[in-house]
Amino acid sequence: MLSDMKTFTIRDLDRTPRKVLDCSLREGRAVVRARSGEAFLITPLPEGEDSLPDEELGQRWLEDHRKWRNSQPRKQAPTSQVADVDRLIAGE
């Protein structure tokens, strides 16, 4: 809920941006609210992801995905079940 988050003003963002960004890093998000009532959510990107070139993003995602798969029970769905699901979502 927005009301649970630390809220800053546009003036805060202008004069003390570090405070706003530090709060975003510490709490995962910070809200900046304008006088007009508009609210903006500031959230940090996962470490390093914003500056990586696409090639590395692909490798990083694949590695991350592999780790996730390895943390799961590696039971493979039988081909017949995959075919059943394919038919069901395709409306057959």
Binding site: L45, P46, E49, D50, L52, D54, E55, E56, L57, G58, Q59, R60, W61, L62, H65, R66, W68, R69, Q72, P73, R74, K75, Q76, A77, P78, T79, S80, Q81, V82, D84, V85, D86, L88, I89, A90, G91, E92
Partner: protein, 156 residues
């Protein structure tokens, strides 16, 4: 290359199957080349449903490989990948009116002759509307329709 994948491609990334290595590597490869797979509301509905249907299919066949807990974890992973800005997907923006027109044209061109399902019509017309040139699917009929519409189909 501008890739498009249908829902059975995505579901293979999150449920362990014989195609999971291939589909995951392809998604990562697109990202490495600077492309991202578009995700539409249609994918969100179908992929989430597909993950749950693996639980159902296991119950029906008496071979419960995908447990409800595994499905829940897969759902969370898919949701996270759809939200992350540095991941292999991007939210596809498509005009509903143009999509409907494209789907209608494709239907009138091919369905009476080949008997295509709505699933194939919707995904191929979406790929065309999003100006994608390459169509990734593990569904023969989808690939057939995509080819007829001039898209490249590396998986079929």
């Amino acid at each position: 290359m501008k890739p498009y994948a249908d829902s059975n491609f995505f579901s293979r990334i999150y449920i362990e199957t014989e195609w999971t290595d291939e589909a995951s590597a392809l998604a990562a490869g697109f990202l490495s080349e600077g492309s991202r797979l578009p995700v539409l509301w249609l994918h969100l509905v179908e992929v989430r449903n597909a993950i749950e249907l693996f639980v159902f299919a296991g119950k029906q066949s008496g071979n419960r490989v995908i447990t409800p807990e595994a499905a829940e974890v897969a759902q969370a992973r898919f949701r996270m990948d759809c939200r992350r800005t540095s991941g292999p997907y991007e939210r596809g923006i498509i005009d509903m009116g143009s999509w409907e027109e494209a789907a209608e044209e494709i239907t009138l061109r091919h369905s009476a002759k080949h008997g295509f399902r709505t699933y194939a019509i919707l995904h191929v017309s979406a790929a065309i509307e999003l100006s994608c040139d390459t169509f990734y699917s593990y569904d023969k009929k989808c690939n057939h329709l995509a080819k007829l519409e001039g898209l490249k189909t590396p998986l079929g």
